[in-house]
């Protein structure tokens, strides 16, 4: 297990380094002067000069890259072009809101989707199974921001059950939760169906395997067979998927935070794109990459912990 963990962490770090390099080189891949291209033709000479300094455009490339990576490792993500505020601070201010959104969105999807998938597999062709199958396909394909907008239309505008703007009063936990309901709902809806389907397919496959027949042949009780013998194997692809889901959710929060006017890194990034504030964009994207790599790393480690074959390198 330890060997596997070390290898996996190593790979994660490698990917982070490559990602940093990619983000770093983005500015140079475009022909022409990176500063004017990044800032646009209407940028003032002052801004251009500051951009050049900020991005270290006067030094040779490998040095710049090394500098950049060094900065990131020290937690310095550069500074906002205009306000000069450290990017890291700006990100940390709003990150908790995004994390809360992602956690609640994925959370409810997991709490509903996995049991649904399990039930659908054990009671195949039941009403629940058929209903879930049809609804799943629908909810999977509809974009989450469309769900968000319509949720606002129905539940906030027409029915006035939930608020549509903001994250709520900073000191009031209940108010914050109240403001999370609609955003978490719209972010997670597609994932409920997706998880249900994956779990169902996985369970059906595992339940058909020979070792389950052996468990039955020894008279084990059905709940034990479903949970300890089947689900433990069937859940593995889902765990991997959950790690990948974080990436999709990090993308989705960009839209959801806009729809619900919630603070968060999505909101931050979008505002900065409009003003072509590249250091902030770069820093924020880097943070999301880091979060995503961490999520997939954790997912892989959990799978290895649950499945001894993975640990053995099979």
């Amino acid at each position: 297990m330890v060997m596997y963990a070390i290898q996996r962490v190593g790979l994660a770090l490698l990917i982070c380094f490559v990602a940093m390099t990619v983000l770093f080189t983005l500015v140079y891949v475009i022909p022409g002067d990176p500063a004017t291209i990044a800032l646009g033709p209407r940028a003032t000479a002052d801004t251009v000069a500051r951009f050049r300094m900020e991005m270290g455009l006067d030094q040779p490339i490998p040095m710049r890259l090394a500098n950049f990576i060094g900065m990131v490792l020290r937690g310095d993500l550069g500074n906002d072009l205009f306000s000069r505020r450290p990017v890291a601070t700006m990100v940390m201010e709003v990150l908790p809101h995004t994390l809360a959104l992602i956690a609640s969105g994925l959370g409810w999807a997991v709490l509903l989707g996995i049991p649904l998938g399990c039930y659908s597999a054990v009671r195949r062709n039941s009403l629940v199974d058929k209903f879930t199958a049809v609804i799943s396909v629908g909810t999977i394909s509809i974009p989450s921001f469309v769900v968000g907008i319509y949720a606002v239309l129905i539940f906030a505008v027409e029915l006035n059950w939930f608020p549509s703007i903001g994250a709520g009063e900073p000191d009031d936990r209940w108010d914050q939760l109240y403001h999370l309901v609609l955003p978490a709902f719209s972010l997670g809806l597609g994932w409920v169906g997706y998880l249900a389907r994956i779990v169902r397919a996985s369970m059906l496959e595992v339940m058909g395997e020979n070792h389950i027949r052996t468990a039955r042949a020894f008279g084990l009780r059905e709940p034990r067979i479903v949970f300890r013998y089947a689900l433990r194997i069937a859940i593995l692809p889902t765990v991997t998927l959950l790690g990948l889901a974080i990436g999709g959710l990090l993308s989705g929060t960009v839209f959801t935070e806009k729809v619900f006017a919630r603070p968060g890194i999505g909101q931050l990034v979008v505002d900065m794109v409009a003003s072509r504030n590249f250091p902030v964009v770069q820093g924020t994207v880097l943070v999301t990459v880091g979060l995503f790599v961490l999520a997939t790393l954790l997912a892989d480690l959990v799978v290895a912990w649950l499945d001894p074959r993975v640990r053995a390198g099979l």
Partner: protein
């Protein structure tokens, strides 16, 4: 017959529902496993051997329909039992060893976990159950059993996994152990070891064994009684001696002739039985072996033969035996 049989199958007929229609997998099958004996079922692929064993355990797939007959385990009909009753039998009074050791154990649970799980009905401490499992592993020839209880199936070879399966099967001291082609997936040396193990264990463990195989040699070595299955029907049965020294059904004769282990004459061609096993979507009207039988005559194609007693314990389903 029924009194001292641990398992008695009477007139069993089973169909499978398939998209192309019902497949008549077993037709009017009757056999008995006397207490304390080893009965072998021999047949080609598709003869219905596995269906028979799964039916006895109540493990038939969803598309199987029982069209008639009874399966009496110690006098009680398995086919009419509810899930709870069946569960009470399985693993305790009746146990099974499956054919493929690579897929019949749960890959993510340790051997110890699986072996203690199946003892769930016993009121004993976890340590006791573990010790019992270790003892059984030692008995089947797994070295260093206390350590190896914490290993996972993929850490064992195929031969060892099959030993573990046998250990699991015997853990509850069952009255009947059904071994469904336990050595088919193993190479010849391992096969010999497993058969040797079963022979040893049989002396200590006082139950019966129902041993299924396509290999006549194994049956001859291990079993007391033989049941010959062809295309879903019992065509002959008797003691090993009766069957191997005096077969009365042409199929049994042909099987013996074609067994590579018994061939003395040097020749370029191996003897075979010409033709194919019939497609069981159509129930054959008369004798099921008629299309391939070297001794076929006109009555065979017209009239289905009955079971005729031809020896003390031997019977054959053939018109030739009615003489």
């Amino acid at each position: 017959m029924a009194a001292d049989s641990v398992l008695s199958i009477e007139g069993l007929s089973i169909e499978f529902q398939t998209p192309r229609g019902p497949v008549h997998a077993l037709r009017d099958v009757s056999l008995a496993v006397p207490r304390g004996s080893i009965v072998g079922i021999v047949g080609e692929s598709g003869s219905g051997k596995s269906t028979l064993s799964l039916a006895a355990m109540g493990l038939l797939p969803e598309n199987a329909t029982v069209r008639g007959g009874r399966i009496l385990f110690d006098g009680a009909d398995v086919l009419t039992m509810g899930t709870a009753q069946l569960r009470a039998l399985r693993g305790r009074r009746m146990a099974m060893v499956f054919q493929d050791p690579m897929t019949s154990l749960n890959p993510v649970l340790s051997i110890g976990a699986q072996m203690t799980d199946i003892q769930y009905r016993e009121r004993a401490s976890a340590a006791h159950k573990r010790a019992k499992a270790a003892a059984m592993l030692r008995r089947v020839g797994i070295p260093d059993p206390e350590q190896r209880l914490d290993n996972f199936p993929h850490e064992f070879s195929g031969g060892m996994r099959q030993r573990i399966a046998i250990a699991m099967g015997l853990l509850g001291s069952p009255e009947l152990l059904i071994a469904d082609e336990p050595t088919t997936a193993l190479d010849v040396t391992l096969e010999a070891q497993i058969i040797h193990l079963l022979r040893e264990l049989r002396r200590e463990f006082k139950g019966s064994i129902l041993f299924i195989s396509h290999n006549l040699g194994l049956i001859a070595e291990l079993c007391d009684h033989v049941v010959v299955l062809y295309a879903g029907e019992v065509v002959e049965q008797g003691t090993v001696r009766e069957i191997f020294h005096g077969p009365r059904h042409p199929y049994t004769e042909a099987l013996l002739v074609c067994d590579p282990a018994r061939i003395d004459a040097v020749s370029r061609e191996l003897p075979t039985i010409p033709g194919d096993v019939p497609n069981l979507l159509q129930v054959p009207a008369a004798c099921v072996f008629a299309p391939r039988c070297p001794k076929v005559f006109e009555r065979c194609r017209r009239e289905r033969p009955g079971d005729h007693a031809v020896g003390a314990a031997q019977s054959a389903r053939c018109h030739l035996a009615s003489a």
